[in-house]
Symmetry: C2
Subunit: 218 residues, 2 copies
DNA sequence: GCGCGAAGTTAACCGAGGTCAACATTGAAC
DNA sequence: GTTCAATGTTGACCTCGGTTAACTTCGCGC
């Protein structure tokens, strides 16, 4: 459990808001008081430093543990999709409980059975066993200029509905796209999705576009 | 957790000793008092009737839950061996934690991915989703007469060492054998193991022979 | 039929992980 | 500078699953 908290702290630390008590509570689906108590325990265990009312910083040890949690989580997601046949919109819910009980041996077997994947189904990099994580270099689709070409890298949502919709559109990591047009005042985007024989054109709203992160190709 | 207790009660009810408090405690690796408390809770939930100092009987509802637990456990064992590549001597330990957290959807996926197996790696039948379980008709190898031919059906041990040894010998469910000879006073057995091109001969002690259950072929 | 060891039970406790209600701090608006 | 809403924290409580220590009850040997 402590490790899962650390994983979530790590994830939130790299967002603009940082790892606040209330965000952690929301992401972990527990009350803020549960979070605060866990922060104290993690501080005692030298996994982080917690200055009340100020914030939280992972120690190197805490970061190591966090990356273990993230590795486990993302491997599990790949495994659920590639081996067990779940849809990528189902894995978030499904991996919740599993995450807590799989052994290290099981984790290693998942890794092997999936062919040592480097990214989770949503495009996030999987930390290596020794705690190294590939850097990401992408931006929200909303920030890409009209006329640009790009490749979808990550999809930053856990919402099953959105994920189902994105899969339908073909907006999954690896897909090349082209921004045809954007309506004014943060209006919807017209996109060409896919390449080769039959690219398709779709119009997507900003709520969806914000969630899709792409790497622009020159 | 309650369901796992029920599963163990069901298993023990079909042994000569029955489902006693101390046997349950031993199998579940908890103290007897933990068992008694759980028995009270299960009785409150109308899963069984518990007469203090006397014993325990599953209600129909309790039996249904027990079979669900057993199904889950045995499916998990098949899955760990066939899909994840664990040895059949490792699955007992490995399935302990997993058992508690897998969802029904995950269970269904395991079933499908394994090709809807009917027996676990140790030969025990897997209950169907609607709670029906195939009858077993086998006897300990120790009770088979000299000269008889039989097929290994089940292997009744969780001991990793014994299981490894049995796998080495080829004494796994499905293997045909022939009892060549038995030393007097419950002495070791000489067996022909396997059929066709190259059956092998081995001598096994009674401790191992007790654990191997076979069906005699006429 | 008594005594005694084994088996079963109860009681009091622990820690983890959650809740809600009350209190403290912060910072932004006026 | 004060006020106040949002955010963070503490405290008292719950459940669950485990423990040990002390107790009953059972049934066997004599």
């Amino acid at each position: 459990m402590m490790r899962e908290y650390l994983g979530e702290i790590y994830r939130l630390q790299s967002t603009p808001e940082g790892a606040t008590t209330s965000l952690l509570a929301e992401r972990l689906e527990v009350s803020p008081s549960a979070v605060v108590r866990m922060l104290r325990r993690l501080a005692e265990a030298k996994m982080l430093t917690h200055v009340p009312y100020k914030g939280v910083t992972l120690t190197p040890a805490g970061e190591r543990e966090a990356l273990k949690s993230i590795r486990r989580h993302r491997l599990l997601e790949v495994f659920l999709v590639k081996v067990m046949g779940f849809g990528w919109e189902e894995v978030h819910a499904e991996s919740h409980g599993l995450q807590l009980t799989i052994s290290e041996a099981f984790e290693d077997r998942m890794d092997a059975v999936c062919g040592y994947p480097t990214h989770c189904p949503h495009g996030d990099p999987i930390p290596t066993k020794d705690g190294r994580i590939a850097p990401t270099n992408d931006q929200p689709l909303t920030e890409v200029g009209v006329g640009a070409s790009a490749v979808v890298r990550r999809v930053k949502t856990d919402d099953a509905g959105k994920l189902r919709y994105l899969a339908e559109l073909g907006l999954v990591p690896g897909t090349p796209i082209h921004v045809v047009n954007r309506a004014p005042f943060n209006g919807p985007l017209r996109l060409q999705i896919g390449a080769g024989a039959k690219p398709t054109e779709h119009v997507i709203g900003t709520e969806i576009a914000q969630v899709v992160r792409v790497e622009v190709v020159k």
